[in-house]
Structure formats: structure tokens, C-alpha cells
């Protein structure tokens, strides 16, 4: 067994925490794990990535190009920036919410929708949701990372299920934020269930009425 996950985002979005959560879940599930995280200078609003490698064998923590089974992009451009790591039949879970760099970086205009289109064109299994908005509805935009992990587990894109993931979160998230994260977690699970199974989506809508 070998399962490689690349998490990409912007400094401050919680990439490192997300990778710790996945790594802990992997150990609890009985696998070896190796992660490579960006810490230090690059964290100050720069692009950050974390490589999480789960498997039976001990190996280096950097995922070779074309090897990732899953990319979790906390930000659209950061997902796209790392797409060369994705393998042919890999999947992407991407946050539609863009973090626009300060204009001082001299960038051409950044159109997040175009980036999402690019991802979808190149990866059939792309789940895109505004997880930041979803997390805001749950109580804080900071929980977007947790919502995205829930989405990946809920969509069966991780080597462990949502319950296993939540039991790790429960241990690692400080008590005062636990309820809020549980809410974001559940809302996200519901959301991907709808995306995966449009029939259920209709049911939900029917129930809404």
C-alpha cells in the first residue's frame, strides 16, 4: 500500500495542521507515514505545501512528480501550482475560495474560476466547494482545512473513513474549538454526499421545502 497526499495552500491557512492530522490518522490506522512540511520563511503569506506519504514501507517524505494520489488545495492557485505532482488517475479536493496576493507582487489578474476549470479539465475527480464559506457558516473561516479533510474522507479519497479521521481531530483540536470544528466537519460531509450522489441532493432539497 502506498498513498501520497499533497496539501497546498497559503501561509496561515492551516496546511501544517492538516498534514499532522492526516499523519496521525495514518499511524492510528497502522501505517508508516512520512511528511515534509514548509516551516519558516515561506510561511509568511507565501505558498506552502505539505507532503504526506502513507504506506507500508518507510520512504523519503517528498512525493516524486506524478505520484500523488490526492491533492488537497486550500486555495485554487496553490492546487494548480502543484498539479505536476498528481498521478494520472489521482483526485483533487479544492477550495474555491481564493486568497488573492497583495497587488504589490506585480501579478497579472488572477481569476480563480479559470484555475478551477483548469483543474477540472485535467482531473476528472475534482471536488470543488467554497470550503471557506462553509467554514464561516460553521463559525470561523479558519476551519476550512478541517472541512476539506472531512470532504476528502467523505468522498472516499483517503485510506481511512470519516469516523477514523474525526477521532484524531477530537484528540488534537483544543476543547474550546472542538464543537465548531465538528460542525464544519459534518457540514462538509453532508456537502460531499450531495455532490457524490445528486439524488440525495434532490432529497435534501425536497426536505428543505
Amino acid at each position: 500500500m502506498k498513498f501520497d497526499i499533497l496539501i497546498a495552500g497559503v501561509g496561515g491557512q492551516g496546511v501544517v495542521l492538516a498534514s499532522r492530522l492526516l499523519a496521525t490518522a495514518a499511524i492510528d490506522a497502522g501505517y508508516h507515514v512520512a511528511t515534509a512540511e514548509t516551516i519558516g520563511m515561506a510561511q509568511r503569506e507565501g505558498s506552502v505545501t505539505s507532503h504526506v506519504r502513507i504506506g507500508d514501507e518507510v520512504c523519503g517524505s517528498l512525493i516524486p512528480a506524478g505520484n500523488a494520489d490526492l491533492i488537497i488545495g486550500l486555495e485554487p492557485a496553490e492546487a494548480a501550482r502543484n498539479i505536476h505532482f498528481l498521478k494520472k488517475d489521482g483526485s483533487i479536493v479544492v477550495n474555491e475560495h481564493a486568497v488573492i496576493p497583495s497587488a504589490s507582487a506585480n501579478n497579472a489578474e488572477y481569476i480563480p474560476e479559470q484555475v478551477i476549470e483548469f483543474l477540472k479539465k485535467n482531473c476528472q475527480e475534482t471536488i470543488n466547494v467554497d470550503f471557506t464559506q462553509l467554514a464561516k457558516e460553521a463559525g470561523t473561516y479558519r476551519a476550512a482545512n478541517v472541512a476539506m479533510l472531512a470532504a476528502a474522507a467523505g468522498a472516499d479519497l483517503l485510506p481511512f473513513n470519516p469516523d477514523e479521521l474525526w477521532s484524531v481531530l477530537e484528540k488534537m483540536v483544543p476543547e474550546k474549538y472542538r464543537e465548531l470544528n465538528r460542525k464544519a466537519f459534518d457540514m462538509s460531509l453532508e456537502k460531499v454526499a450531495c455532490i457524490k450522489d445528486p439524488e440525495q441532493q434532490e432529497q435534501v432539497q425536497v426536505m428543505d421545502i
Binding site: 499511524i27 515534509a36 507565501g46 484555475v115
Partner: protein, 627 residues
Amino acid sequence: MTAKRILMGNEAIAFGAMKAGLQVASGYPGTPSTEVMETIASHASKYGIYAEWATNEKVALETAVGAAYSGANTLVTMKQVGLNVASDPLMSLSYIGVKGSLVILVSDDPGPHSSQTEQDTRAFGHFSNIPVLDPSTPQEAYDMAKLAFKLSHEMEIPVILRTTTRVSHGCADVVTEDIEQAGRDIEGYVKEPRWTIFPKLTAQRHPWLEDLQIRISDRFSDLFSENTFNSISKGNSKIGIASSGVSSLYTNEATNKQSGTFSHFKLATVHPFPEKAALEFLNDITDLIVIEELDPYLEEQFLQLIGRYHLDVNVYGKKNGHFPVSGEYDVDVVIEGVNSSLQAMNAEIPLLTHSTPVVARENIPALPVRPPTFCAGCMHRTVFYAFKKAAAKLKKENGKGTVFSGDIGCYTLGNAQPLNMVDTCLCMGAGISMAAGLSHTQQYQDGNYAKQVAFIGDSTFFHSGIAAMISAVYNNADITLAVLDNRTTAMTGHQPHPGIGLTAMGNPTKAIDIAEVLRSCGVDLVETIEADDLGECIETAKMAIEYEGPSAVVFKGKCVGITKATGQYVIDEEKCTGCNFCVSQLGCPAIFSMSSGVPQIQDNCTGCSLCAQVCPSDAITLREVLQ
């Protein structure tokens, strides 16, 4: 009892050291080494260990040496450039040796991700005749930390445990053992002439030191049969691969599909080079591929050995261009290098293959770049902007320019656009000394420059700013120092320092007042102000620059990394004239400009109010006060 848990390499080292009976630890924070001391400090009381942040690496090493002379098990931690600072005691120490044990944890940073250099600490081992261990995984880091203490105790010499970013900052499952309370029963300092270095003693000790190299080299050769971190595996061709550190793992993965082909010499006890084991390995091969990050250390060792014994083995590595001489390695780099070597030797072996990504890197469309910059609401942005404005005013008034010398810390990011306020940056503390040097040049004396301004952070001031300032004052340098005092060591993850009044172990201590230190260094004009009122900061900066003679301003503020946001600002669409001043002047990552219309403020605004202070139309206002 053993337990398996997820640990960062640095945490694994801390646990290994504590398992080995660590008693005294000292260090200076530096990415990627910092978490070793942080982990020890947080467990210190529990296990009866003493742990501290020293003011710099030289002090840290000397502190550990003192404790080791008394027979204690000691550890000192730093990053690779920190070892340069500690190299003075280090070079003498190898002659004298230690009692107890002394392990020097040094983290290298190939890439480099967060450092001024890509220097290779293995070279320091070679230079100073100190053994170097080079683990490839967090588990090995744990095991080798224990080995390092054992070796140091037995051989009476310090041992360098050298890691690289991917080991220090990678997390993995690590099997650890229960830790006992560190015993306090050390022999204590015993007066002996051997602890006082003198030319005569040095001359006596040098042969011992050289002889020790041979003994340790033999010992390391023996380690190939005893454990897993040094290993030799035999392949079915005459091609061998030698590797060390994390490159060993890349090698395994790169050659995975043809693992039976190559013989592999995996080395974790890199210095002194285990010649006997290496010679044995060379017996069966005709071609050797050497895979290692940074310096061609192993390659040179092998070349020497092959030359010395007239062996018929070709070597492929950095020196003949098959592998990159700089930058970080990964599996893809290793595949390229091995293939290039195989081609050069005309081997009848299929080349290694890369995996095919869905999109090749070259085919990714242009994306917005995100150069690192100050956090939204960082006090440094206000101070740099204030100096920029003050200097512009002065230039207008008297036509003189100003040179800004930066330093190492978050505030190095003052170089980012649009602030662009770091004209020089070399190493810790150099901002002050370089400003002093600039002030003694003819060009400055001729009146072309208003003043040399140096920026330094609070922790860096204690690290190497004080001596530089004393020298500047003593030598009549006409400089202005801006101390960016955000009450923490921010870049490495918020460690306390002598200005804070807290020790690494969380005990209250005397806080050293930076302004008082500056006054006693002989700086006549020393001001302390809060860095939240831009107008006041500009005035103070201008006054300090205009002052004749050395002057200093301590700007006090808080790092937003450890404080809560105080509110969120919002741009009033009605009042905004679209001048884009807030965007073009400050570079706050919370503000972005739309191609049309009013700039927007994002969630990460912390409410520092700087943008509101520069907006000429009063269009930026506080939206809500967060509890």
C-alpha cells in the same frame, strides 16, 4: 516499554537525547533546528533536565561545555549558520575533548528553504576533527541521538548530530522508549590542567585527536554489521551506489523497480569516514554512483580511497557533473543523476523511469506568485514605512540619501515590494556593523548620505547586536539603529529571549531593557515608542536620523503570530477614490486591488489600522471589534 507515535524529526531527537540521559541543554533558535530545544524545554521539569535558550550559539556551546566538564550529559542545538558563530569554541574543544558527553545538533538546510547559506556541516566535522552522524529518517534521528551520547561519552569528544530539513521538519512514526528521570549524580568539576587550553597542551593533544579519528573510523566500519543505519546491500551488477542522509531514501525509491541491480552503501556515520567498510564495498564493483545533497563529501572520501589503493573503480557524482552541486535532492533528481551516470558508463541496464504526472510542470499556466511578506498587521511594516517616509522627507529637504542595512529575522522581509527597505543583509548582527562600515567611507564623509540606518530585531540584538553597537559607538560611526522589538523571536516560532522576562522553561527571570543597554553602550539619543502611530513613528525616525552621532529608536509592538486580531478594517466604496495608495504603498497581504473598482480587505486583516492611516480619503474604517 516502547510506544509508536508521530514525531517530527526534531522531536524525535529531543526524545532520543532525553532517553540517553540528557541533563543540560542549551541552544539558539534557527530553522530547521528549533523544535529540538522547544521539545526538551517543555519536558525538562518532568525529567529533571535543565534547558535554556542562550543569547547565541557560541554562548550556547560554551555553556554546554562547562556542564560537560563537570561530567554532565549535554546537548547544544543550532542551525548550520549558527555553527559558524560557535566555531571558535568548537575548534579548540576538539583538542581538549569533554568529560560526560556533549552532542551538537546542527540542522542543515539544502534548498535552502530558510537560510542564508547551503553550507554542509559534514565539512565542519572534517575541519574540526569531530565525528558527524547523518540520520535519514526521524526514527534514525532518535536512534542516532542515543548513539551520539554514547559515543561522546566513550571517546571523550563532542559529537555532531547533523540533520537536514527533510529529517528535522518531516514527521514520521517513531518507536520511542520510556524516559527515566535524568540522574543528577555527576562527578562535578575536578580541577585538572587538561581543561585549560595552552599551546603546549594543544601540541600534546593533537596526536591524540588524529589517532582518535582512526579509532572512530574503525568503530564506524564495525557498525555496518551491528545496526540498520549503516548498511551494505549487494546487487547483481558491478555498479554500486553510495549515499547518506535523506538521499538514501530517495535512492531506494528511485531504484525501487530495479533494486536487485545495484549494490548500495548506505552511510549514516559519515565522519570520520569508515574506510574499512568502504574498501570492502569497493571490492565487488567497477562503477560507483555517489548520491548526496550539498558538498561532495562522500565522493571525495571515495575518490581518495580509490586513489590511495589504486582501485579500478569509476566514480560518478557531482564532480563530473552527473548530479547537481547545489539545491535540495528528491527522487526525480536522483533518477536524473543515476541515468546520466548509467549513460556515461554505457551500462547495459535499463534507465530508471519517472512517473508521468497529469500535467507536466512546464505546462502549468501562469499563476499568481506569492513572495513571502510580513503578516497582515505586522508592526515591522509600520516601522519600515515610517523610515521610508522619513528618509524621503530628508532627501527632499537636503538632497541626501539613506542606506538601510537589514538583518536576519522576519524583518528581512522588509526587502519585499513595495517597501523595498533592505539594502544590505548578510548575517546576524551584521546590519549594525555594516552600517558602521558604510559610515566610515569617503562617500558618506563627503556628505552624500544622510545617515546609515540599521534595523535589528529584539532577539538578534541580544544575539550579536550589542557588540556591534559598542564597536560602532566606540569608533564614532554615525549610524541610526532601529530596534524592531515585537517581544518575541518571531521567525523561528516565537521563542522567549532576554528582553521578555521568561526563560525557555517558562520561569520568570530578569528582563533586560534594550533601551537601557543602548544607553550604556554610549548611544546618546535613545527613544522608545510604540509602533502603532505612523505619524509619530515618522517623526521619531526623522529625528533619530537627523541627530548627529549614534542614535537609536526601540519600536515596541507585537507580533501578530502570537496576539489576537483587534478588529477588521473595511474600505468604504463611497469614499474610496481608487487611488490604490493602501495597496501600492504597504503591501499588506490582507488588501488586494481589483482590476476595476475599490480594493478589498480580506479575512486576515488584524486591525492594525496602518492602511487607514495612509488612506488620503479617510475611506478605510474599523468594521467590527472582535471579542
